[in-house]
Symmetry: C2
Subunit: 260 residues, 2 copies
C-alpha cells in the first residue's frame, strides 16, 4: 500500500484524487488545499486540511498546484527528507526544494474538472532525483493502471511542447473551423465525425502517411479557390503557413501566389 | 429499392460500394471504372465495366472520381435526362453537364482505402438542381444510415474549407508533434491519448470553451521557454502564429517578444 498526501485542488488534483481513491493499492492519507472550501465536500471521505503544519506522514507528497507556486510551496513544507513530486509538464524538477527528496509525476493529458477522463489511459511521465524512488513512482502509476514512462527533464519539456501543438493548437484549428462554419450558418457539429476520424487515423499510421487534402495533392486550383473563400486575414495567414508546411514535409514545391 | 451505378474506384467509391452493397434498400446495378483492374476482384459480386457505352439504367449515377475529371466524364456519359451526382466537397454542381439532371452527394469524411470507416456516422451533404430529386438523395443517405444535410454550393465549399483546417492542418500539427518528439528520442505514441481526448472534448463543449494551455493562460514564462526549445524556424513561426491566434480569440493582449 502506497500512502499519498495530495496538495492542490484544481483540475489535476481532482482527477488524481478520484483515480487514487479507487485504487486498492493506494491510500490517500490527506488532501491539502490552501482554500479549504474547494475540498470541503470530500471531508467525509478523506482527511482534509488547509494547514501545512498539519500535514501527516506519507510515502509521497504530490503537489498538483499552479506552475508558478510549485517552488514556493515546496520550500514552505514544514518537513525534510520526505518524497515530494510535482505534476507539471514544464517546471524543472530542480525547482523543488532539495530539503526533501524530489521527483516529477506528470500526467500527459488535458484535464478539466467537468470532462470525465479514463485515468488508466493517461501516460505518466516520471522523473526522480534520488534513484531509489524510481520504483515507487512506477508502482504508483501502475496502481491506477497507467503506463509509467521514465524520461529526462528535457524530454518532459519537449513532450509538453509537442502537447501544445497537438492539443492547444489543434483545438484552435477546431475553433477556426467553427468560426468558418458560423459565417455561413452551418452547424459545426457536421464536422465532428471528421475530427474524430482524423485523431483516430494517426493511432494506426504515422501523421506523415495519414496526410491528405489539397496541399498534399498540390491541388493549386482548390487552394486558390479556398484562399478566395477565406474572409479573415488571420485565417488566410494560417492557411498559407500550414499549406506550405505540408508541402515542405512532403517535398512539394511551394509556388502558388494568390492575388485577392 | 434505389438502383445505383457507381463510377470511379478510388477511396470514396470503394467505401460507398461497401456501404451500399450492405444496404437492403439499395441495389448497386453496376460499377464502372476506366481502369478495369481496380474493380475486377468484385466481378463476382456486381456487374463491372470499363465502357461508358455499356452503362445500364439506374435511378442515380454516382461519380466518385477525381475533382479534375468530373466535368469531362459527365459530358462523356452517353445518355441524357438521367440523375447524375458527384461526391466532391469543392467542385461546383454546375460543372456537371446539364444534359442530365444533376446533384451532389458529398460525404464529409476522410477516406483512405485501408482505414475502416463506420459509414453510418458520415454526414452526407446534398445538393440538387432539380428539386424533385432532393427526396431521392435523402433516401439514399438514409438507406445507409447516414444523416443527410441539404446545403448550398457555397455552404459545401465553406465546409470543405473548414474541413481542411480541422483535418489536413490538424494532421500537420500531429506531424510536427511527431517531429518534435523524434528530436529527443521520444515515442510519438505517448501523445495518442492526448490527441484522442482533444478531439473528444469538442464533441461535448465548443472549441472556445475547451481551450487550455500557455497561450490561453497568457503564461509568458512558459511561452518563452517553449520558444527557446523549438529547433526549427518553421515550427517557431507556426507556434507564434497559433499562440497569437489563441490570444486574439480569447482577448488576451499579445505583447510577448522573444530574442533567441
Ligand atoms: N490541467 C491540465 O490539463 C494539466 C495537465 C498536466 C499537468 N498539469 C499541471 O498540474 C498542475 C496543476 O494544474 P491544474 O490544471 O490542476 O491547475 P488549477 O486547476 O489551476 O489548480 C491550481 C491549484 O493550485 C493551487 N495554488 C495556486 N497557487 C497556489 C499557491 N501560491 N499556494 C498553494 N496552492 C496554490 C490552487 O489553490 P486554490 O484552490 O486555493 O486556488 C489550486 O488548487 C500544474 O503544474 C500544471 O502544469 C496540468
Ligand atoms: N478521399 C476523401 O477523403 C474524400 C472525401 C470526400 C469527398 N471526396 C471526393 O470524392 C471524389 C473521389 O475522391 P477519391 O479520394 O476517391 O479519389 P481517388 O482515390 O484518387 O480515385 C480517383 C478515381 O477517379 C478516377 N479517375 C481519375 N481521372 C479520371 C478520368 N479522367 N476519367 C475517369 N475516371 C478518372 C480514377 O480512376 P483510375 O482507377 O483509373 O485511376 C479513380 O477511380 C473526389 O471528387 C473527391 O474530392 C474525397
Amino acid at each position: 500500500m502506497i500512502s499519498v498526501v495530495l496538495l492542490g485542488a484544481g483540475n489535476v488534483a481532482t482527477h488524481i484524487y478520484k483515480a487514487f481513491s479507487n485504487s486498492e493499492n493506494i491510500s490517500v492519507t490527506q488532501w491539502y488545499n490552501r482554500t479549504r472550501a474547494s475540498i470541503s465536500s470530500y471531508a467525509n471521505d478523506v482527511d482534509i486540511t488547509d494547514q501545512l503544519e498539519a500535514l501527516k506522514e506519507a510515502d509521497i507528497y504530490i503537489m498538483a498546484v499552479s506552475d508558478d507556486s510549485i517552488a514556493q510551496l515546496s520550500s514552505d513544507l514544514p518537513f525534510t527528507d520526505r518524497f515530494v513530486v510535482h505534476t507539471s509538464g514544464s517546471v524543472a524538477m530542480h525547482d523543488l526544494d532539495k530539503k526533501n527528496k524530489i521527483g516529477v509525476f506528470y500526467p500527459l493529458q488535458t484535464f478539466s474538472k467537468t470532462a470525465e477522463i479514463d485515468f488508466t489511459e493517461v501516460p505518466i511521465c516520471i522523473e526522480v532525483y534520488e534513484k531509489e524512488n524510481l520504483q515507487l513512482l512506477k508502482d504508483l502509476a501502475k496502481a491506477v493502471g497507467c503506463k509509467p514512462h521514465k524520461i529526462t527533464t528535457e524530454q518532459r519539456q519537449t513532450l509538453h511542447l509537442a502537447a501544445v501543438f497537438v492539443n492547444n493548437f489543434t483545438n484552435q484549428l477546431y475553433r477556426i473551423g467553427h468560426e468558418i462554419c458560423e459565417t455561413k450558418n452551418i452547424e459545426f457539429q457536421i464536422l465532428h465525425p471528421l475530427i474524430s476520424e482524423t485523431a483516430k487515423k494517426i493511432q494506426q499510421m504515422s501523421p506523415y502517411m495519414a496526410q491528405t487534402g489539397p496541399a498534399k495533392r498540390n491541388d493549386k486550383k482548390t487552394i486558390k479557390r479556398q484562399l478566395k473563400l477565406i474572409e479573415k486575414d488571420e485565417h488566410e495567414a494560417i492557411y498559407k503557413m500550414l499549406t506550405s508546411s505540408i508541402k515542405k514535409t512532403h517535398n512539394i514545391s511551394s509556388d502558388y501566389k494568390v492575388k485577392r
